[in-house]
Amino acid sequence: MATDIRSTSWVNTNHPAPAQKPPASEVGVVGWLRTNLFSGIGNSLLTIATLIVLYFIVANLGRWLVNAYWEPIWVNRKLFAVGQYPLEQLWQPALVLLMVSLLFGLSTGRWGNIMRNLGVGLGALLLALALIPIGLQAQMVMAASLGLLLAGYLSGARVAISSRWLAVAWVLSLPATFVILLGGINLPRLGVTSNFAPLVQSNLWGGLMLTMLLALVGIAVSFPIGVLLALGRRSNLPVVKVFCVGYIELIRGVPLITLLFMGMTMLPLFLPGNWGNPSQLVRAMTAITLFSAAYLAENVRGGLQAIPKGQYEAADALGLSGFDKLRFIILPQALTKVIPAIVGQFIGLFKDTSLASLVGLLELVAVGKAVIQQPAWLGVTGGVAKEVYVFVAFVFFIFSFGMSFASRKLESKLGFGKR
C-alpha cells in the first residue's frame, strides 16, 4: 500500500531537542585563552616565552617606577608648562588657553568629525589637570577652560555659526596668541609699540607652551605655502614645476636640524643690515615653517592626485576660470581627503620641535635638560635624568598618541584603508 504523502505521520511531533551549550573549551575565558594564546604547541611556547619576557620587563619597570624620584618634576611643573614666563603674568597664557578652548568647543560642535575626537581628548586633559592639585589658580583656569569647551560645544551644536567665521577666528587666533603672550605689539622698526602689560620677550617663553606654539605655527603658516607648492608641482608651466620640485626635494632631502642651524646662523645674513637680527624664536619658526611646507606640499599633492580627472573636465565644461576651479571644485575635495595625512604630519612636527632645544630654545626637552642640571638634585644617587626624560616622553606621548588615535578613529569612520 502506497503511503499517502499527505499523511504527516513521518513528521517528528516531539519538540526539538534543546540546543546544547557549546563546549566549555570553545567559549568564555577558557575558549578565549585557547583561541588566542594556546591554539597549538608553537603558539603555547610563544605565549610562555612572551610571558617570561613580559615578566622581566614589568618587574624591572615596576621596581623602577616605585623607587623613581619624581620630586624634580613636581617642583618644576611651572617650568615644564610655560618656561621662564613671569609668574605674575601667567594670566596671559591662561587667556590664550581659554581662547583656544572656546574655539575648540565651537568647532567641535560645528564640525564634529576629527574635531570632536580631539575635543574629547582636550576635555579629558583639562579635567585631569583641574583635578590634580597643581595649584589653585592653575586648576581654576583649567576648570574654566573645560567650561568654555563645553559651552562652546553646546552652542556650536545648537546655533548655526558660520563655518567661514569660525575659520577666520582660528586664523586670527594665531596672531592674537602672539600679542597676548608678548603683552602687546612691539615692532620698533615700523614704529609700532603699544602694550597692555609689561612686554614678555620671546626668550622667556618656554616649556610645553613653546613646543605647542612651534608646532602650530609650523603647520599653520606652512599650510598656504605647502598648497601653493603642491599646485606648482602639478603645474603645466615647466619653470614653476621645476622650481617647486627642486624646493620640495631639497628640503625633504636634508635633516631638520641642518635647517634649524641654518635658520639660526644664516637667516640674519639674508636680511638687509639695517633690519637688525630677528629673535631666536622667529628664526626657529622660519626654519620649521620652510621644512614643514615641503612635507605638506607632498601630502596635498596626494590629495590632488586622488581627484578624478572628470572633476577638472566638468569644471572646465562649466566655464570656471582656473582660480574658481581650484577654489570651488578641486581644493575643497583634495584638502578634505588629506586631513588624516596632515594630522599625521602635525604629530611628526610636534615631535620634531624637540630639536629646537639644540639651537637654544627653552622648549620641553630643554627645560628637562635644565631641570636635570639643577643643583638641588645633585645628591640623588644615579641622577634624575631617567625620571625627567620619561616624564618629557610621557607628555609628548599623550599628545601624539591622542592625536593619532583621534585621526585613526576618523579614518575608520570615513572608511579609509578599509577593504
Partner: protein, 477 residues
Amino acid sequence: MTSSTLPNQRPPFYRDTRTIAIMLQVLFLVVVLAIGWFLYNNMVTRLAAGNTAAGGALSWSFLSQTAGFGISEGPTFRPEESYGRAYVVGVINTLRVAVVGVLLATVLGLLAGIARVSNNWLLNKLAMVYVEIFRSTPLLVQLLFWYVGVIAALPPIQEAAPLGDLGYLTNRGMYLTWIFPTETGRALTWWLLGGIIVGVAVAWLRRRQLERAGVPGSGALAGVAAFALVVVIGYFVAFSASQMPATTAYELRRGDRGTLFEDTNGNGAFDLNLDRPLAYVPITLYGADGQVVASGMTNGDGAFRFIDLPAEATRLEWTTPAPLVLSEPQRQGFNFSGGISVTPEFAALLLALVVYTGAFIAEIVRAGINAVNKGQWEASRALGLNTGATLRMVVLPQALRVIIPPLTSQYLNLVKNSSLAIAVGYPDLFNVSRTIVNQTGAEVQGILLVMATYLTFSLITSLFMNWYNKRVALVER
C-alpha cells in the same frame, strides 16, 4: 549647404593661453631671481662687513687648512690633518652608524611587524605597546634617555661585571670579545673576497638549475655553503702556511711595554711609517733571571703593555699565532685592552635609531602583510603549507611590493636622523661640520657641504631602493 561661419580670427595675442603661459613663467622667474638676488646681495654685504676667519668671501680654501682638533671615533684622525679630511671622517662615521642602524632596524621592524599580525594575543599586544610608545615620543628624547638615563647609569669600568665571556658593559662604553685576523691571518682577506665571488656564482648557478628543473627555491643556501667551504679551506691553508716574518723584532720599554714589528730596514728600532707592526701575536716576557714575568698577546697595532709585573722584563719571545684569534677584553687599570670597544655615544645613537625606526618599520610591515588578500592565506593553508612557509613563500613576497616604497623613506629618515648625533657628541658629519664652522666661520660653505652630502645619500638610497623595487614589483603583461 550653409554652414555657420565662425569668424576665423585668432584671439589677440594677450588672450592666447600659450602666450599667457610663457608670460607667467617669465614673471615667476623674474620674481624668484629678484628675491634670490636680494637675499644673496644681503648675505654678501653682511659677510663682507663681518670679520670671519673665512674672510667674507665664499672661499673653499679652508678645507685644506690644518684642523687642529681631534676626532674621538672612526678612522684615525690627527689634529694636524686638514678640515677636508676631518669632514670625510665625519661622513664615514655617519655611514657607520647608518648602515648598522638600517640593518638592525630592518630586523627589529620585521620581527615586530610579524608579531603585530600574529594570532598570539599576548605577543601581538606586546608588539603594539612597543610600536605605540616609540612612535609617539620624539627621537631626541629617546636618544637622551638612552645616553644619559641608561648608558651613563651603567657601572664604571672598575666595578663592571663581565657578561659571561661576551665582554663588559660600562658607563664608558661596551667592551666585547671579538675575532680578529692575526699577523698570519692577513691572507684570509683574499680568501673571504674569493669566497664571496664563488658564493654568488654558485648561488646564481644553483638558481638557474632550479629554474630549469622547475623546482621552487632559491640558490641562497648553496651560495652560503660554497662561501663557507672556501673560507674554511682558506683558514686551513693560512694555518699550515703560517710563519712569522724573518726580520721580526721587538722594542721593549720601561720593562713592561713595547711593540712587536717587522723590521723592514733592519735598524732594530720601530719606525712608525716604515716598519709593519705585528698584530695579535702571542708573546711571553722574561725577566733578567730568565723567569716568566708575563704572557699575553700584542694589540691590533702590534703594541703591548702589562701592568703590575713582578719584575722588569728584559727579553721577549713570540710564537706563531693561528690565523684568527679570539680577543677578550681585559681590565687594565682604568681601561680595557683587547676585544672591540663601542663608545657610549655610538651605542646610544645606534640604539635610539634602531628602536625608533624599528617601530615605524613594524607598522609598514604590518600594513604590507595586511594588504595581502586573506584568500592568499587561506589558499596556501589549503595547499598544506604551515604558517612559516605561508609567510615566507606566499605572503611576504607579495607584501614586499607594498612595503618597499615606505621602507625606503624610513631608511632615508634614519640617515637624516643620525644627525641628532650632535646631541650626544658622536662625531658624525653634521657634528664635525659644526666644529669646522665654529673654528673657521665658514657658515655658508659648511651648510652647503652638509646639505649636498645628505642629498647625495638620499639620491643613492632612492636609486638603490627603486632598483630593488623594480625587481620585486608585480610583472604584468
